[in-house]
């Protein structure tokens, strides 16, 4: 089954900040597998290593030891520039803030990543409009980020992440700067994309209401996986392999 393909696999993933006495094991021997179509929340107390884990999976930060495979590619073998290119074509990112280029409109921000991918103009334009519609911002296509609310900005970021047709989307606390109602709407958008198009999402969060929307919840404590639970999973989606 196509959906059950493994998109992310980590093995003995470890990140240590600092040396000797002051060394911090931000991530400690994490083995994790994410399959296509999952809608996973990464939770845990502050400092538990959520950001560190997502950064390593996203190829933004290099592990101290251990490996990350993305769709069978060991990303630690990629040179810096190849890694940037790999991210461009394989991973979608939604950050907590500062996702968008302030001088470009919503439409241009989404188109930008496809330009980086050198996609043809016709495809870009058609896709931008479709994505804006999916995230419910068709009427804001010519607005610049500063004319959008925080929630709208995050939805543009989700659309931008989707535009590159990534294998999965990483979102580090995408709702942290949003009120709970707006956060809920963003989650609606993400869940719909996951449900209808099978987009794989991994997001970290502190928000209990956001956690409730996830199908799989991984709890980190002190850089290790303390809990990995499946919530209800739609039948047309693969069951994740849990330890």
């Amino acid at each position: 089954m196509e959906n059950s393909k493994i998109v992310i696999k980590t093995e003995n993933l470890t990140k240590i900040y600092g040396e000797g006495e002051v060394a911090v094991r931000a991530i400690n021997n994490v083995d994790l597998t994410i399959k296509a179509g999952e809608f996973t929340a990464l939770v845990g107390p502050s400092g538990s290593g959520k950001t560190t884990l997502l950064n390593m999976i996203g190829g933004l930060d290099a592990p101290t030891s251990g490996k990350v495979w993305i769709d069978k590619v060991d990303i630690s073998t990629l040179s810096n520039n190849r890694l940037i290119d790999f991210r461009l074509h394989n991973i979608g990112f939604v950050f907590q803030a500062y996702n968008l280029i302030p001088v470009l409109t919503a439409k241009e921000n989404i188109e930008f990543i496809m330009l980086l991918q050198k996609r043809p103009k016709a495809e870009r334009q058609q896709r931008v409009l479709a994505l804006l519609k999916e995230v419910g911002l068709s009427d804001k296509k010519d607005s610049r980020p500063d004319a959008l609310s925080g929630g709208q900005q995050q939805r543009v970021a989700v659309a931008r992440a989707l535009a590159s047709k990534p294998k999965f989307i990483l979102a580090d606390e995408p709702t942290a700067n949003l009120d709970s109602k707006t956060a809920g709407k963003l989650l609606d958008t993400m869940a719909a994309l996951n449900h209808e198009e099978g987009i794989t999402f991994i997001f970290s969060t502190h928000d209990q209401r956001v956690i409730e929307r996830a199908h799989r919840v991984i709890t980190l404590v002190d850089g290790a996986i303390a809990k990995d639970e499946l919530i209800e999973y739609p039948s047309d989606h693969a069951q994740p392999e849990t330890a």
Partner: protein, 405 residues
């Protein structure tokens, strides 16, 4: 797209961009105008030197230059002068009898250069008659008359109608002396010149040097200064026995100044542009660091270093290249304007300039080639000052850049 983003980024911080634009405009303007001013100054000095002093070229006996002795006159100088004066390429030519000696008045005495001239043709070549401010210029039929410079007149404490005695060696080595009555006092902008040169009629001086009907010097102006090299080569070939010198050899300091003008121009412009580029680099560096989070985000989502570099590079380059044409245009218009009316610093500088033989009214001028050279240098500056900010941008680490709060 990169162009478009770069363009939009420029206007993110309008004040800052306008400051950079303004300083580039000003720098290029001032730089170009100063170059034109120096160029005008030199052109004028060159024109004065050739038109009033050394002419385009001069002929002497081969030994005259070294020894300055009366016996080294030009052979058949009258015929030679006639031949040159007839040439269509020649605007004016004259011949001179020259002696170096002592000039004495009733009150004082000093060294001087005595020039026996043919009043009409001398005036056609150097226009010395136009500089007479008191009394009259020489006439060829009046005997033993002299005109002297104002500075020398002061030194000798003489006036128009005073008498001076010139003493100098004749052709056979004996000492000759003659009394001349001052009929005119001239004043030029070149004090050194004014202080030593005494003009008399050629036959009067030739009689004393015992070189009748001979001349020591022929000086000529061409219609086309550009044809100097070609013309003098031909003339020299025809008269290999004469010693021919062009203004560059006659006034070597002037030749050197003209020849090294390009170097001065470059040094001057490089200093201005260097100062400018520090300003640009500093400002753009601030812009890059301020946008650290955004740059980190762009790298994170997949903008490679080449593109990122290009984006910042283009942004800086654009700023400079937008401003530079304005600077050049301002320079062009101000140079054209002052090139017509002249720039007068006489209040401030008259004495200083005059001592060096410069006039105080300067007409800035610039050949189009120099505008082109300035454009090239500005572009090089723009490129160089764009590199560092762009390089700084690509060295940012995406995670660190984004986590900065």
């Amino acid at each position: 797209m990169l162009l478009q983003i770069a363009w939009k980024n420029i206007w993110r911080n309008k004040v800052r961009s306008l400051v950079v634009l303004g300083s580039v405009v000003l720098g290029v303007w001032v730089g170009a105008f100063m170059v034109a001013y120096i160029y005008g100054l030199m052109n004028q000095r060159l024109k004065d030197a050739t038109e009033y002093e050394v002419s385009h070229f001069q002929l002497h006996h081969p030994n005259f230059d070294r020894d300055k002795e009366a016996k080294y006159f030009l052979d058949n100088s009258t015929d030679l002068l006639g031949e040159i004066q007839k040439d269509k390429a020649i605007r004016a030519a004259t011949a001179r009898v020259i002696a170096y000696g002592v000039v004495a008045s009733a009150k004082s005495s000093t060294g001087g250069k005595f020039i026996g001239v043919l009043p009409e043709s001398e005036n056609a070549v150097t226009g010395i008659g136009d500089f007479v401010i008191e009394g009259n210029y020489l006439k060829s039929n009046a005997k033993n008359k002299a005109i002297i410079g104002e500075k020398l007149a002061d030194k000798l404490k003489v006036k128009v109608r005073s008498k001076v005695v010139l003493t100098f060696p004749a052709a056979d080595g004996s000492i000759a002396a003659g009394a001349f009555r001052i009929i005119g006092i001239y004043k030029t902008y070149n004090k050194g010149f004014e202080e030593s040169n005494i003009y008399v009629n050629a036959p009067d001086l030739a009689k004393l040097t015992e070189t009748p009907n001979q001349f020591h010097e022929i000086a000529a102006l061409l219609h086309q200064p550009d044809s100097l090299e070609a013309y003098t080569a031909t003339l020299q070939a025809k008269h290999p026995e004469v010693f021919l010198e062009t203004w560059k050899e006659l006034s070597p300091e002037l030749g050197l100044m003209i020849d090294s003008f390009d170097q001065y121009l470059y040094i001057f412009l490089i200093i201005i542009l260097l100062a400018l580029s520090f300003g640009i680099i500093n400002t753009m560096l601030m812009a890059v660091l301020e946008r650290g989070r955004e740059i980190g985000m762009l790298m994170a989502i997949g903008m490679n270093k080449g593109r990122l570099f290009g984006m910042i590079f283009i942004e800086t380059l654009m700023l400079v290249l937008i401003a530079a044409p304005f600077g050049l245009a301002f320079a062009y218009f101000t140079v054209s304007y002052f090139g017509e009316v002249g720039l007068d610093f006489s209040e401030v500088y008259d004495e200083g300039y005059a001592a060096l033989g410069f006039k105080s009214l300067i007409y800035p001028a610039m050949e189009n080639a120099y505008y082109f050279k300035i454009i090239v240098m500005v572009v090089i500056t723009a490129v160089l000052s764009s590199l560092y900010p762009a390089w700084t941008a690509i060295r940012l680490n995406p995670v660190e850049a984004m986590s900065k709060l």
